[in-house]
């Protein structure tokens, strides 16, 4: 009985292959954008527009892909390293609908929900949380459907970078970190 079922399943699987291929072939090479990004605007459906705006703002962006094959941009040109994830992309990793700026900090004793809540209660734009793996995450989600003009997106970048810098101050104050040693004059 089991063998017969297996055979039936195998037949079904083989039969299904050409259908799947046909479907794949039917897809045009480049799916047209559902919501085309108007000229001069910044949209998640046009990763190049995000990249160009970040380049202009001197974030030295690196365009890459995340674990799922969706676009992703990395930068080291703020107080901390951060990533920009593209969300809501289709199966071809295109037509993404929103962005998520994210910075992660390794597991540490101060990474408690109370610490994250303290940030969240007093600061704007950037959401703090402690992940199951003990890392602290900071994120800022931005709706991108229809597009933002250059000036608005430049301010989005500005908020993210200034809140990362604010975070450095928050760490220092909350954790009573010592000031970095004064630079002594060269002899």
């Amino acid at each position: 009985m089991r063998i017969m079922l297996l055979a039936a399943a195998m037949t079904a699987a083989f039969a299904a292959v050409p259908a799947a291929q046909a479907q794949a072939q039917a897809q045009p090479a480049a799916t047209p954008a559902k919501e085309p990004c108007a000229k001069e605007l910044v949209c998640a459906s046009d990763p190049q527009s995000v990249f160009a705006a970040m380049e202009k703002a001197e974030f030295k962006p690196k365009l890459t892909t995340d674990g799922q094959g969706d676009p992703m941009i990395e930068s080291d040109e703020a107080s901390y390293h951060f990533d920009v994830y593209f969300y809501g992309c289709d199966k071809q990793h295109k037509n993404c609908d929103s962005l998520r700026f994210e910075a992660l900090f390794e597991k540490a004793p101060e990474n408690t929900p109370e610490f994250a809540n303290k940030w969240n209660a007093s600061k704007r734009f950037m959401q703090a949380y402690i992940r199951d793996d003990g890392q602290m995450g900071l994120s800022y989600d931005v709706a991108m459907i229809g597009g933002l003009n250059q000036r608005n997106f430049s301010d989005v970048l500005d908020w993210w970078a200034s809140q990362l810098s604010e975070l450095a101050t928050f760490f220092k104050t909350e954790l009573n970190l010592p000031d970095p040693p004064e630079k002594t004059e060269k002899k």
């Binding site: 919501e35 108007a38 605007l41 969300y87 609908d97 929103s98 998520r100 929900p113 109370e114 994250a116 809540n117 969240n120 209660a121 704007r124 734009f125 959401q127 703090a128 949380y129 402690i130 992940r131 199951d132 995450g137 994120s139 989600d141 709706a143 991108m144 459907i145 229809g146 597009g147 933002l148 003009n149 250059q150 000036r151 608005n152 997106f153 430049s154 301010d155 989005v156 908020w159």
Partner: protein, 172 residues
């Protein structure tokens, strides 16, 4: 007490405004300016939400009273001047203290959900926020998408809170 009667009024208003959501005038691709509270109120109405422009008694700062999912929320404006308008706005809603509210609970939300930042404030109430830059311009469809994120994440929050309450053993 005051709060629950205000909630009831907002709830009734929200239900009455629902049919307006189906209407949409103007071109969704046009660029809109969110730096003026009175403009944002009009755009909210165009997107099908009620919007009442008010001023805070203590500071005189403008805000908009609206509602989503039958629950009131406000839009607060920051860094405002008569010449330049405001440089950012904030969607804000809060829910009075419940025994099952906890900081680990807000962290469970903040670690998994996007857009909506939630906290337990110093009074033990639950506050929720979403911040938006209003410098430059965005397309109308982008503003509609932003409101949609607020509305859908606030709706998600109710489901999340119901589950948290159940997990806490029905502590109301």
């Amino acid at each position: 007490m005051m709060r629950s009667s205000m909630m009831a009024v907002a709830l009734a208003a929200a239900i009455w405004t629902v049919p307006a959501a189906a209407q949409q005038k103007g071109d969704p691709a046009r660029m809109v300016d969110l730096s003026r509270p009175e403009n944002v109120a009009k755009l909210l109405q165009e997107a099908g939400y009620k919007a009442e422009l008010k001023k805070h008694d203590n500071t005189g700062d403008p805000f908009i009273a609206s509602a989503a999912n039958g629950s009131p929320f406000t839009i607060e404006f920051y860094d405002c001047s008569p010449a330049k308008g405001c440089t950012s706005l904030q969607f804000f809603s809060w829910y009075s203290k419940k025994p099952y509210y906890s900081i680990p609970m807000t962290n469970r939300w903040n670690a998994q959900k996007r857009f909506l930042r939630i906290v337990i404030d110093k009074d033990g109430d639950l506050s929720t926020w979403m911040d938006i830059s209003t410098i430059g311009k965005v397309s109308f469809s982008n503003f509609a998408d932003t409101i949609d994120w607020w509305q859908s994440m606030s709706g998600d929050l109710f489901t999340f809170l119901a589950e948290e309450e159940k997990a806490a053993g029905g502590k109301k």
